[in-house]
Symmetry: C2
Subunit: 514 residues, 2 copies
């Protein structure tokens, strides 16, 4: 760790190879190609009727939070169930509440050039969230720590097709749980200038996140703008616990954003069928959105979805499989109809290492995520082992493919006169070639996406340079990037204030490992 960490802080001038560009033309993707609607009108009607039935007849339990139940009761919902915590409400009312959430909103970044628009035709990619382990080719698999975490924040900052920092890129397991969020926030706020999320695991940690964001952005800016968001899971099936409602109160209460994500392994936390699990996810997330709008009408809300399939052999979750591919397309269409920004998918895999399985599964999961119109994509890079492990090589490999998706979405097909190239056909005879013609010379520089990690040499050249597979090339790339890393500029007073806040809170908080 120490080795990598010290290298990361070394002089930029000794970086090997060319320093990667990390100033994207656009801080997020402005999609120009149409959405793909996989469902016909009847399928939509049946799924939405199921959502309504869940909201009205089955209801959603709000667990261990009388404050939330009281609000629902005051607003006119029916509270019932054995434990008196199941909220049932008219679907029309819930849908009306959801319409108060913005279809799209801006999350400001510390660097205004990196502020992102979330929702509508905009798409934002962020790295893996929540893995306790990390893996790289040199050090193998091990618990995450703060040195690895900081390096992952640095890499995310430098990778041009990651638009957003996420938050728990790995768990810094060497820092007490009670203080971990402070170090992570400080890293995102100082080692990067991309937008990021805050903590949610405990109400005071969410509070610290919003307070530190206020140090960065100032009270006035924060009053009118989303500058930080929380990302939180429901307890599927049909249960929203106080982690969710408290996070909504802290974040939305201060006008900040919240992402609420039903995580449903079909057959466990939802029925084994994709249609039922997708409808359940919609119902849970819409109920959370409605609650957020009761707390603060117009609060930025992202409807999350994380639906996975299962191996019949082991009962383990599987990724990149046809059922979640379909559910990405389905949930994309349903979210657009509900008028809510969507989080779904990612570069997901059950593979333990960066082999072909990891890449096939990640690509199919991410191609469908991309085409489905997901507005905010956590886990877009770095995910291994069903999310238990952040791969350093996987992070830069996935990010390289994200550049391809960005081009598909943002450029689509140019049919301008120049793109149709009629002049080129005057220069080139039938059976000839276009290599040197004027049109090619004018256009070749921007014609093709230039991946960093795909090798297109012939086999002889590839063998001469060591027959490196993509994993090895990825190792070379991320280690070279860390050598070239230069932190983004920050106002020294802001940095001091953040460090002082962290120091003070670390004194106030006990060391706790849960």
């Amino acid at each position: 760790m120490a080795r990598r960490s010290s290298r990361a802080r070394g002089s930029a001038s000794k970086g090997r190879g060319s320093a990667p560009s990390h100033a994207p033309a656009s801080p997020h993707i402005k999609r120009c190609i149409p959405f793909y609607d996989i469902l016909d009108a009847e399928q939509v009607a049946r799924l939405e009727a199921q959502v309504d039935w869940l909201l009205e007849d089955k209801g959603i339990a709000f667990f261990d939070d009388t404050q939330a139940l009281d609000l629902w009761r005051r607003e006119g919902a029916t509270i019932g169930g054995e434990d008196g915590n199941i909220v049932r409400a008219s679907a029309a009312w819930i849908r009306d509440l959801c319409r108060k959430a913005p279809r799209e909103f801006t999350q400001l970044a510390r660097n205004p050039e990196r502020s992102v628009v979330i929702g509508g035709k905009n798409q934002v990619f962020a790295p893996i969230y929540g893995a306790p382990f990390v893996r790289d080719l040199e050090n193998g698999r091990r618990y995450g720590d703060i040195a690895a975490f900081n390096d992952l924040v640095r890499l995310t900052y430098m990778l041009p097709h990651l638009h957003h920092g996420g938050f728990v890129t790995c768990e810094p397991c060497d820092v007490p749980v009670s203080k971990r969020h402070l170090d992570m926030l400080l890293a995102h706020m100082t080692l990067s200038d991309k937008p990021h999320l805050g903590a949610i695991t405990e109400m005071s940690r969410a509070q610290d996140s919003v307070d530190m964001a206020e140090i960065v952005f100032g009270r006035d800016v924060m009053a009118d703008n989303c500058v930080i968001m929380g990302n939180v899971n429901t307890n599927s099936p049909l249960l929203i616990d106080k982690v969710v409602t408290q996070a909504i109160r802290v974040y939305c209460g201060r006008g900040q954003g919240i992402v609420v994500v039903p995580f449903i392994l079909s057959g466990a936390m939802g029925p084994v069928t994709t249609a039922a699990s997708a409808a359940q996810a919609m119902a849970e997330a819409m109920m959370a959105c409605a609650y957020a709008q009761l707390i603060r009408p117009g609060a930025p809300f992202v409807l999350g979805n994380f639906l996975s399939s299962m191996s019949l052999k082991s009962g383990a979750p599987t990724f990149g499989m046809p059922e979640p591919v379909i559910s990405n397309y389905v949930i994309g269409q349903l979210a657009r109809r509900a008028g809510l920004p969507l989080r779904c998918g990612g570069s997901l895999t059950a593979s333990k290492i960066e082999d072909a399985q990891a890449a096939y599964e990640s690509a199919d999961a991410m191609h469908s995520t991309m085409l489905a119109g997901a507005n905010y994509v956590l886990h877009a890079a770095g995910w291994l082992e069903g999310g238990l492990c952040t791969g350093f090589e996987k992070l830069v490999m996935d990010a390289d493919r994200l550049g391809s998706y960005q081009k598909v979405l943002a450029q689509g097909l140019d049919v301008s006169d120049d793109a149709l190239a009629r002049d080129a056909y005057d220069e080139v005879a039938p059976g000839g070639h276009f290599l040197g013609c004027d049109h090619t010379m004018r256009n070749y520089r921007d014609a093709f996406y230039e991946p960093q990690l795909s090798n297109s040499e012939n086999v002889e050249s590839w063998e001469e340079t060591g027959a490196k597979d993509m994993r090895r090339r990825a190792y070379d790339r991320w280690t070279g990037m860390l050598e070239a890393y230069v932190p983004p500029p920050i106002d020294p007073a802001t940095k001091e204030a953040l460090e002082a806040f962290v120091a003070k809170r670390k004194v106030e908080l006990p060391d706790a490992w849960y």
Copy 2:
């Protein structure tokens, strides 16, 4: 080779592991999800105007084939150009001729249960075509030979998500070029009972292909049915040579099918822009289709497209990149408008081995191929090194992912009452689990695609069983499959007649290596 080949012919009873199922529920995919139309009306209009301009103003050269030029002249086309071989024709007339080709047609297989429908909403996957090299984990990279070829035909026969045998799964380089087609045809016709293609490289080889098909199917069946097809490339840009026109005369002349494929590396055989290259490909293939319809109105025709991007570093073709991903979607839409079955895409990569690069690129290429509605997909499995090499591991790895695509396309989203699972919610409380509920027990068996090569174990179990990556697991799978191989039944008289035909032709033909 000999080792593998003899093992392949060994007893099925000693096959290790479970014998893979190779009787798919459907011999091809009947797509139930909608097509994705990436182009808006204006883009379509501009691309089709470009196609018309190419047909009417620029024209297509028909090279080295006076018979083809004479026919075009008789039918009323304008013949011009310096060499007097450029055919220009009214676009409306060419489009009318293309409409004579069937929107969908059946290619009979020797085993009627494996006959495939090509066109419309049907999609058919076939393996790599034309690689001179093969590669596997045990023997490394080497020239293809007839033993490897036969094994690849056996594997293709056994893989349930390859619906069609293709033809030159690798080049059997140990057999003289002049006789190679005979051995390949005999292998497809006896070691497998799936539909396949025939030879096109020389007119007499195409003739042999159709003659051998007649032995299998009989003159009467063949008079009324497509039982074999040729697959042939134009010489882009805007040139169709006699290999194409002769193949059309041999195959279509006998009522058989033809696939004509412009292979365009953008910036070399077409302009560097995707729009221009896609329009050029449409113009070339439609002109070939029109010629086929002049030869025999109603001849089965598949409009091919193979558009690749380029590395600016090396000038080498690249695969799985955003430009060909977009062109798959574009060409799918244009082919549907032209009313022609489409061949495009495949599991394509520039990688030399079955690493993550190979899988990322193959998956993005194939996901877009699948969703674009490609009706006949050569190169759907086994492709490495830009098509120079057939990988044994890659073949079974890709084929495993094809099963996932098949489920996405053919099943879509079930929204039946049972799929919506309302009864399950009566059994499961909020926060509970669906693992043992009635609905799960009724549905789990078919709920999830069960891949053969994806490992979803936890890291400890995976390490205990040897920490095998997907490539190693794929090696185990294909070697195990060959041990379990049993040839499909064939009428002994048919087999004898085929062998006699091959023997006779081998005597008649000189050994030639070109």
